[in-house]
């Protein structure tokens, strides 16, 4: 069975807290995601997302605080705008926009984090491998030749 690689950017204040809570509550979920903790979801630059896909991620997840709850006032709104715009661009780049997901998960929502991880893993599994890394490498090799 295809095991997708998922890159998760988690905001320190909410979603990373939710991931910790899932841990303390011992809620098991799919191990396909690896987490990178950022201070705020608004720290995530579209370049980071693209880089993650290039480096081998089949799906990218961004978790932030619920609207109105951002530790930095309005960072999550900035993220929402960026991700909305960027997912349209992804489509143009030939990457299914379903491979990028933004969710608001508060530090109290450990269960939601676990469920989201399971659900997203299944979604990416259904989409199949992205293989962007291989494609990019092949193209680079072809260019060199």
């Amino acid at each position: 069975m295809f095991e997708p690689q998922i890159m998760c950017f988690l905001c320190k204040w909410c979603t990373s807290g939710a991931a910790d809570l899932a841990g303390t509550s011992r809620i098991h979920y799919a191990p396909n995601g690896v987490n990178l903790r950022v201070m705020c979801s608004s720290r995530v630059d579209p370049q980071h997302i693209l880089y993650a896909f290039r480096a081998g991620a089949d799906g990218v997840f961004i978790g932030g605080c619920h609207p109105g709850d951002c530790h930095y006032v309005e960072g999550n709104y900035k993220t929402l705008r960026r991700v909305t715009l960027f997912s349209k661009m992804l489509q143009d780049l030939g990457i299914d926009r379903k491979r990028l997901r933004l969710e608001w998960i508060s530090a109290a929502e450990g269960k939601k984090f676990a469920e989201t991880m399971d659900e997203f893993t299944e979604q990416i599994r259904a989409l199949g491998p992205l293989d962007l890394k291989d494609k990019v490498l092949k193209r680079e090799v072809a260019k060199d030749e």
Partner: protein, 660 residues
């Protein structure tokens, strides 16, 4: 990102956490695998790294192996990051060279497949190696603190905060725009649920504030502008001309007697009159007359000058000018209070047309012994004692379509109090209250409301009022009783509207000056709704009272004391330490496009006018990184979370090299 790998000697400590981690992750295997990983000079595993011997092992190893950075693969950094930073400090390592790889909460506790969990642990650790290789040693940013507080607003919240801070031993400035301190509380008659006289509890506080050696009252002053940052604010304050020297005025009242100008009295909500030279109310602090320049004839070209002639103390000076001066403070408490929603906004209730439709604060003045009727309940139009008073709750509150969606919180209780006090004054009168819900959640509140119904026979009708109009000398109130589903028509002599609490009049202007945030209703925003309820998001600003949202007196006082305690925390520090993981700008890459400036919620970003490039105020920057993500040229980088670090972490986490 194929730049050359930085060189560092990194130590890795993989924690078993008993069986919490070791039960799922093969810690020994992880530690062994990582031994040969580029950058890692030392790798081990230990049963409880956070224990005393565990920490000692870290300290010894750092010294022995001359490590430049360490990674502790253990529980969530929220638990022991501080612990390990302190341990590393003891070994002479900069705390910003410590990385915590969370392999418990975000790995061993949530996965059961040992092989997969072990692989994941390796990925997590590799990412932290990539980051640790590029971490800078940082020192907290130090800032001096000016140990002097500014309180904006001299109502009960502002005075409480001022008194508490003064008692901590710090200097306090209180700026109040009105001629006297006292705020709204001094206008109230009696307070719920104990029915003690508001003035009797407020005046001693006012006097105490005026006499406290650490408090300087600046009444009839306004804040003009604020610059600087936490610990170091520069405040420009405007002294409005009072035209009376408050030190000379001995309250003989001769000026008032001769003044020919009669105007509505604001303190009595326009229900009585005052002269153009006046004392707002008998207990005003400071005890001095004030000449109201809008209504005085003497300031006009053709001078009246009557008051000046009779003033034996020569306290009146028509040439007094407005003065602007600057003060330095370290913290600012905003306690600017509230205003009532205007009756014009609800035309169908006729508040504008009919004199006998009044708001709650007007009724407070009517009930007050020092009020326009000396405490006898008389209606404004003809001075008759009303035999039937209708009270309408939630006027302008809890109306998502036309008015304010929020609950004004105090109206349920003060309406019960109004009805009760009315019944005490007019025992044969009838008090009828229209309500949506009765929210009596507070100490002694529900008992108080029950007392209004049972002992004072106040009639509660559950429903809204649709229209109020006049017929003869009666006011007809149309409403609905939602419990019976029937329309109700009540003939009343007077109607009291419990108008919604709204932001104070000058708030939008003040917020622009202070550069702090409010919610969409203009109430000030707190830093965190649960955990930091008295601080503004902008460091150095604190909130007290109704400026933050509707609340009753005890809540306002509690919040003021909490804000004062927070100011005390700030002032107790020799210097402020600010997290150094902020954003920096690479001068050579910055084009001065200013996108970052629009991104910053803290006004930490600005353009250097000379160089034309963006700069960061390192004290104001909170390190969210939103500007770094927005910077199109990569000039803005967050310290210890640079793009390069994120890219290298992504590479490390996503690489398919088989290490397990």
């Amino acid at each position: 990102m194929k730049d050359k790998e930085p060189k560092k000697r990194i130590g890795l400590f993989v924690c078993h956490c008993g069986i919490n981690i070791a039960g799922v992750v093969d810690v020994e295997k992880v530690a062994n695998l990582m031994k040969d990983y580029p950058g890692v000079s030392f790798s081990t595993n230990y049963v409880y790294v956070c224990s005393d011997p565990g920490q000692q092992m870290i300290i010894d190893t750092i010294k022995e192996k001359k490590l430049d950075a360490i990674i502790v693969a253990a529980c969530s950094p929220t638990l022991h990051e501080k612990t390990f930073q302190e341990a590393a400090k003891l070994a002479g390592l900069n705390p910003y060279q410590i990385e915590i790889a969370n392999i418990r909460e975000q790995d061993s506790w949530v996965h059961s497949d040992k092989d997969k969990a072990t692989r994941k642990a390796v990925k997590i650790i590799k990412a932290h190696v990539a980051k640790a290789l590029r971490n800078e040693s940082l020192q907290p940013i130090k800032v001096d603190v000016k140990k002097r507080a500014l309180i904006i607003g001299g109502g009960v919240a502002g005075l409480q905060a001022a008194l508490d801070i003064a008692e901590h031993g710090y200097q306090v400035l209180v700026v109040e725009k009105n001629p006297s301190i006292g705020g709204k509380m001094i206008q109230l008659s009696e307070t719920f649920p104990t029915l003690d006289c508001s003035q009797c509890i407020m005046t001693p506080k006012m006097v105490e504030a005026s006499r406290h050696p650490n408090i300087k009252l600046l009444t009839y002053h306004e804040v003009e502008s604020v610059s600087g940052f936490v610990g170091n604010f520069k405040v420009r304050i405007k002294k409005k001309p009072r035209y009376v020297d408050e030190k000379l005025c001995n309250l003989c009242a001769e000026c008032e007697k001769v003044c020919p100008q009669v105007v509505p009295d604001e303190f009595n909500m326009g229900l009585s009159f005052r002269k153009a030279i006046y004392m707002p109310f008998p207990q005003a602090v400071p005890g001095t007359y004030t000449l109201d320049e809008k209504n005085c004839l003497g300031l006009l070209p053709v001078r009246c000058g009557k008051c000046k002639d009779v003033c034996e103390k020569k306290a009146i000076d028509y040439d007094m000018k407005e003065v602007i001066f600057e003060e330095e403070v370290g913290a600012i408490v905003v306690a600017t209070g509230y205003d009532l929603y205007t009756m014009q906004a609800i035309g169908e209730y006729g508040g504008e047309k009919y004199e006998d439709v009044i708001n709650g604060l007007e009724f407070e003045r009517i009930l007050s012994a020092s009020g326009p009727t000396g405490g006898v309940v008389r209606r404004p139009s003809d001075g008759k004692i009303p035999k039937h008073v209708v009270f309408v709750q939630c006027t302008g509150s809890r109306d998502t379509e036309k008015h304010n969606p929020y609950c004004s919180k105090i109206c349920c209780m003060y309406t019960a109090k109004h009805a009760m006090l009315y019944k005490h004054r007019v025992p044969d009168g009838q008090a009828t209250i229209f309500y949506i819900d009765v929210r009596a959640g507070g100490k002694g509140f529900d008992e108080f409301y029950q007392r209004a119904i049972e002992e004072d026979r106040v009639l509660y009708i559950r429903g809204k009022v649709s229209k109020i109009f006049k017929e003869g000398d009666k006011l007809i109130v149309w409403g609905v009783d939602t419990l019976t589903g029937k329309k109700v028509e009540v003939e009343a002599d007077m109607v009291v509207l419990a108008m919604a609490m709204v932001k104070a009049d000058g708030i939008p202007d003040l917020l622009r000056k202070l550069k702090i945030q409010s919610d969409i209703h203009g109430f000030l925003s707190e830093a965190h709704p649960k955990l930091r309820p008295v601080e503004s998001l902008n460091s150095g600003f604190y909130l007290a009272g109704c400026a933050h949202g509707p609340k009753d007196i005890p809540e306002a006082v509690a919040q003021a004391s909490a804000a004062a305690a927070k100011v005390g925390d700030l002032f107790a520090q020799k210097e402020l330490l600010h997290e150094p993981t902020i954003v920096t700008v690479n001068d050579e890459l910055c084009s001065g496009c200013a996108i970052c400036i629009t991104m910053c919620p803290y006004q930490a970003r600005s353009l250097d006018p000379e160089k034309g490039i963006a700069v960061v105020n390192e004290v104001l920057c909170e390190g969210c990184g939103a500007c770094a993500a927005a910077c199109p040229s990569g000039a803005a980088q967050q310290r210890n979370q640079t793009d390069e670090q994120i890219f290298s972490m992504l590479t490390a986490m996503l690489s398919e090299e088989e290490h397990v």
